[in-house]
């Protein structure tokens, strides 16, 4: 598979998997407003994933966007491990999304000036939506962190746990480097400074403590995942796999 397809799939996969996680909140939100907000975010993420999958499918030439989403196995998915982490309580979801949104915001900002016109256009489009997602997750992080003793404790716990999945956001492998050399990809290392600024200032406002870097999980670029992705895919892919030509 060529680097451009692989690169595009990674972006699409992270959006799809995080979107699937957000859709699991539909009808389970803490309030009606939040339920609607999270479902809307899920829709944005599915829409973004769809744009990147359509492009990957066009480059691939043999598989459709739906096949890419529903007919690949766990080891063939390249989403960040952060995006597949379970929803947990509302605070866990808030922390996970905040860490991811901050990265996505910076990533799409850079990729919007890619030499690849389609990646640039899809990124510029996604960026507008991710700005809202980041605002939403940051606001909630501040409210929960600077809320009651219990809410502060819960989000701090989630932050401590999820921190190990933030390291791989900035990794570069041979595909990233090839895309970067061609002026089509992003130098993830360069996003670190901006990410730290967003994370630190928000964490401070939320009266939380930034975890100390310890063990960092990695491997999603090679299809290595935590135990949660398999279960997520089993649920998400069940229908199109059980009824391959189902129409609704």
């Amino acid at each position: 598979m060529n680097s451009l397809i692989q690169y595009t799939l990674r972006i699409a996969d992270s959006s799809l998997i995080l979107g699937q996680r957000m859709s699991q909140w539909c009808s389970n939100g803490p309030t009606l407003e939040e339920d609607i907000a999270m479902s809307n975010i899920a829709l944005d993420l599915f829409g973004q994933a769809n744009g990147f999958y359509e492009y990957a499918a066009q480059l691939d030439g043999s598989r459709s966007a739906d096949e890419l989403a529903f007919k690949r196995n766990e080891r063939e998915f390249f989403n960040h491990q952060l995006s597949e982490q379970e929803n947990g309580n509302f605070g866990t979801t808030t922390v996970r999304n905040f860490l991811h949104d901050a990265f996505n915001f910076l990533f799409y900002t850079e990729l919007a000036s890619s030499k690849d016109e389609t990646l640039a256009a899809l990124s510029a489009k996604s960026l507008k939506e991710v700005k809202y997602h980041l605002r939403h997750s940051s606001n909630w992080l501040i409210r929960l962190g600077d809320g009651t003793q219990e809410s502060n404790m819960k989000v701090q716990e989630s932050l401590n746990f999820l921190w190990q999945y933030t390291g791989e956001l900035f990794e570069m492998d041979e595909i990233d480097n090839e895309m970067l050399d061609e002026g089509a990809g992003v130098d993830n290392n360069k996003l670190r400074k901006g990410w730290d600024e967003i994370i630190n200032s928000t964490i401070e406002k939320a009266k939380l403590t930034r975890p100390v870097d310890g063990y960092m999980a990695n491997g999603s670029k090679k299809g290595i995942h935590t135990e949660h992705l398999g279960f997520l895919l089993a649920e998400m892919q069940f229908l199109p796999r059980a009824y391959p030509d189902a129409k609704w």
Partner: protein
């Protein structure tokens, strides 16, 4: 017609209401980017408001139906992503239609569509659709939707 009658196509498209806000047409919403004619066929360029907007499927179906009903058969629809849709494309006239319909139009200052007060609070960033947030007027106490600027 040799060059096609794109003005006629625009006119037909302007009769199609936005599926979620029927007070304005899909042309006024700004999702129709261009109508061109070549090789005896029209090409209609469409851009989504939000990537995941479910209305896109609805209004593409509406376009096909409307054109066919009006005897236009030689056309194709093309989805484009660049330039990304922005609320800046809405004219003042369209914004006024939104306000009359009860939706605060995109603007840097949110005003209550009922009493025009600036004394409003945002209840949720996301309303019934991704393009709107939920607000309440602190002056007349009416809840309302605000069309977000993007």
């Amino acid at each position: 017609m040799q060059n096609g009658n794109t003005a006629h196509i625009w006119k037909l498209l302007n009769t199609i209401p936005d599926p979620e806000i029927p007070a304005i047409s899909i042309v006024e919403l700004g999702v129709i980017r261009d109508v061109t004619f070549s090789d005896k066929s029209y090409t209609i360029l469409i851009t989504p408001t939000y990537s995941g907007c479910p209305a896109v499927k609805t209004f593409t179906d509406d376009i096909k139906e409307c054109l066919k009903e009006n005897g236009v058969r030689n056309f194709k629809l093309k989805l484009i992503y660049s330039p990304a849709w922005t609320t800046d494309w809405m004219t003042d006239k369209t914004k006024e239609k939104l306000r009359k319909y009860g939706i605060a139009p995109p603007s840097n200052t949110v005003r209550c569509p009922q009493c025009n007060s600036k004394n409003v609070e945002i209840l949720s960033e996301f309303g019934a659709t991704a393009c709107k947030s939920m607000c309440r007027c602190s002056n007349c106490l009416e809840p309302f939707e605000f069309f977000k600027c993007i």
